[in-house]
Symmetry: D2
Subunit: 342 residues, 4 copies
């Protein structure tokens, strides 16, 4: 059985495991004060072009999102997100659990538009009773989005301009950041992205690590006592070295980007394969998640041999399905799919 | 520099790393539905003698404690703990962050007594205004305690009896459980412990794993939708295999207990060493944390060569210090300490 | 200046003030244990036809809603409401502040439909990843709605049937309950309403009281320790007599319904007036809130003499405005409006 | 039956009721934008000698305390209070419900000392692991305390000096403020108190109002969007006039202080009575709450005729009881007690 169900079906890039083995008995302080974490911080800052950034390494995505959001918002504020934003739908209410509302706006292919954001903010402050309502306190977007789509540089600049006009921090959830940046459709660099937002994450879990999300405050603008907030949110790992070693390895010699590129190359092959066999795309994703309208015949042919995720059933018998490639997907897996696909 | 500062200065037991390497490219579902996690659950249930237990694998200690406590309490309830309980002092208010008070009681050598617990509960319900107060909703103890001490079986039974009389679940925080069970002073087995509490944890982080705490509800009594609560608390790992593999390895062929035993053996050697050189013990700990009254001369002699944790300065110039051994402490490290200690 | 801006511009029905004066020096226990509160409870239970109901008297609407919702939900649950529901929009995130998501569904004229509710619930449980999402835990509707509209008995029964199928409690926010029940369009009695929901409120603030919302659990189904939860939410009044006296007076000799009827009579006159002068209704409300499309000429004519609330500006220069009548609105006020309106 | 059980057994000062009646049909905006509230604000600012103060009128004490504390603290902070502080014991965990720990210190006769506060703060920052702990974020004291005792001006200045050294806001809970200020033992004026703290409350509920607590930020230092936070906490009254009228009346011609003085005069008579009959005082309270060691014989003599609150039973058969006088206590009530007391 080959699985394209998601991008976290396998362990870690072998270099990470080698490094864990090699450093295993070295004694280091806990809670992120080890030398691996320090080195990872430096390499991440260099890669982002932000020598003054504050960097923190947390364990998982939902944890990271809710810690960032709860810490940056005041009690009277909520976080603005697309209706399909991960925090709005698939994080079990983790943001609300911290006391904050997710203020949802319409989306197109998973993306929030600067226009919709501006219209919402204008409407909010035009409403005479806005002080009876939840104030917008920050803006959350994901890059790539939950649908695998990407914001263009111009779109991000437009969103950033609206955020600045309303003094709202912009948070970019980069759980799959590498897969965005390595897409041929991406017109923005990591450094440019860092310059356009107030906080962003660099996802490790889905891009070659066993676990781990790096949080970057590009301007050294981490909220006061963020360390304590990480602890309070249960997100502080005693053996911080586990995260330090992983990110240090991923940001050595560009490994993070190389392996992200592999996922994109395989995804493009996979998309080309489906298109060439006459399948319709549910949407044209430029990243590692591909959304296909799969026929019943194809589903039958793949049954028991290739796994993928079903998102929705269509009235015509087809299904919207997701095939995800990853840092570990091999050309052989694509070939096997090709051999089975009608 | 040899460090006895804590029991999480090194990575993981080599067998864990070997297993991570060996299984690395095996494709498995996420969120704890992998076969390693399933196997770990079975082995843990067997070790605890609780075939019907519910088992969950979480990442870190504070996270685990606050998830368990917040999920088991109703809004009008707090958790009863010793004043020195980890949740009361060193978890950055994680329990309060979930909306619940930690109701603290006096401690002796880190332990809560059944008498104090009973007196508090009697007093609470005797107070005419108790419905203006936070109701006791569960009892938290740690085994070993934050001072390395252990409850005897009789003490645990007495606490359990009070809990039962007041229908309060008993939660045993086993962040260092192995180091408690393997102490020569321990008169209780894992199976007996499981029979005496409503939920307990088996700490991996401090006993040979890179990260991970197993949560055991011995009677299959996990709160409804505990999985979703784990997600909401940011405690659900996408690559659950990381936890599954570690606990599966630790509970194969008794590895968890063997390596815990190593820490105890080294700790007893270390204690004997200090005593033989005439140092006073701050308290007589039977587990891997040893609390010594270190003289200034000794501090000077060890300076730069042996690290430990300072808890408190005494007026006479001595300091209460903690030396912690671990699964990875070697006889050579004890010998090196012996060579340096005046 | 005559104000139709809302239904809380004036004090209390004179009989309430008389009663406050008459009982002022009578010594009574605090926290709702006074005889007035006991009497109010009995009269409310009788009026609702629920001799076994649990009744609590709280102070304000947002407070009451968030106390009820937070207390009835488990942590993994949210409350389902129409997008226009008061809790979703105008309570400053009070529900989210307690850790719970408001799960919003489409609305028509402020109303939730049984079909939409059913479709959402079916979709939720059909989604393979629902345990990563916020569970629906109760259903909130307002009667009348925020747009002054009413559910028919059949609509309520249909919603209740869906709730029962999914074991979801139904909460009816009756901040303006009297104005709903006294509408000529209302086809349900208070007793029938009580039989169709699991908890509802009887608004006093907007129907003749200085403050106060009665919470009724018709089947005696108040959550455990609801009193303590009321205290925890800061909703317990030391001088509970203030609420007891008010509700006792309102539920003596049907005062609540008589004065609610006055508001409806005035509202119908007001609506007829606008219609007769050729104004369009934004929607045809059967209760005390009337939504008119007011022309610029009319706005000019009323300027400085009649106050109302502007909800929205239309592109054609008109505005959606709200005129609210109340228990205290007089025929003279309607006549004065009539004299001014072009 | 005469009741001395608490200071909220009766309604409101008659002038308040007269004023409610007189203004009843005057139309005013809701949510505290009425002219009565505006007038009350001005009078309170004048009485406090703080022309630039921010004033808010809330309904009840627990609500007010938790709204202030939750709004002024950051998530990583807790509030420091005496172990006997009302927020620590008798508010059903309302502070913790907002996510914050109450950091308790020892008390003497209900009072926190500057020395204990300083020692705690020094110890906190001297602890190497303080960033794993809840940061002290503000200091809460009550004036008078829960035991009826008062801080001297020097004690308040000393506490304030420690607060300033650590940049901690000082919050004075004045639920019974009038009874403190009017005590013969009080050596501080309202203006001086306002100058010594960052926020304080002026209790109405216990000093002649039906309900209501005024929150004063003396330096105009209300937290941003405090209005919205009041709404979020369910503490915003639609008919703000109810609070406005009450405080406006209480602060007209010094009524608040006159009626507070009555309670003190009666309390001193009551204390003298008990002392003259040979009863021991549990502590020597200078305010309206008197704590007496009541003999069994006295309890028997008063049974069914005079009510008071029992705090604790002593081994010798006596009981610590509280007699509270109020703005409404009459000389006749004291005389009646005198006639019955053995």
């Amino acid at each position: 059985m080959i699985s394209f169900t998601c991008d976290y079906t396998q362990g870690a890039h072998p270099r990470i495991l080698e490094r864990l083995v090699a450093t295993n008995f070295q004694q280091e302080p806990g809670y992120g004060e080890d030398i691996f974490t320090a080195s990872a911080h430096e390499k991440i800052k260099a890669a982002c072009g932000c020598p003054g950034a504050d960097v923190y390494l947390l364990t998982g995505g939902t944890q990271t999102n809710s810690t960032i959001i709860a810490t940056m918002l005041r009690d009277y504020q909520g976080v603005v997100a697309a209706q399909t934003g991960h925090i709005a739908v698939h994080e079990a209410g983790a943001v609300e659990y911290t006391g904050h509302k997710v203020l949802t706006l319409p989306q197109r292919e998973g993306k929030l538009s600067a226009q919709d954001l501006k219209a919402y903010l204008e409407g909010f402050y035009a409403d005479g009773s806005y002080d009876h309502m939840v104030f917008p306190g920050m803006v959350y977007i994901s890059f790539p989005t939950e649908y695998g789509t990407l914001y263009s540089k111009a779109e991000l600049q437009a969103i950033k301009a609206v955020c600045e006009a309303y003094k709202l921090p912009l948070f970019v959830d980069g759980a799959r950041l590498g897969y965005g940046l390595m897409s041929p459709a991406c017109d923005i660099t990591l450094q440019e992205l860092a310059g356009l937002c107030d906080v962003f994450t660099i996802g490790g879990t889905k891009v070659g690590a066993l676990c781990g999300e790096a949080v970057v405050f590009p301007a050294g603008n981490a909220p006061e006592h963020f360390f304590t907030m990480v602890k309070q949110h249960g997100a502080l790992l005693a053996k911080g070295r586990l995260l330090g070693i992983q990110f240090d390895t991923l940001f050595t010699d560009g490994l993070y980007f190389q392996i992200a590129r592999n996922a994109i190359d395989r995804a493009m092959e996979l998309k080309a394969l489906f298109v060439s066999r006459g399948y319709d795309l549910f949407l044209d994703s430029p990243t590692n998640q591909q959304f296909i309208l799969l026929t019943e015949a194809a589903a039958k042919a793949l049954d028991g041999q290739v796994a993928y995720e079903v998102w929705e059933r269509c009235p015509d018998g087809r299904a919207v399905v997701r095939f995800a490639t990853s840092w570990a997907t091999t050309p052989e897996q694509i070939a096997a799919l090709s051999a089975l696909l009608p």
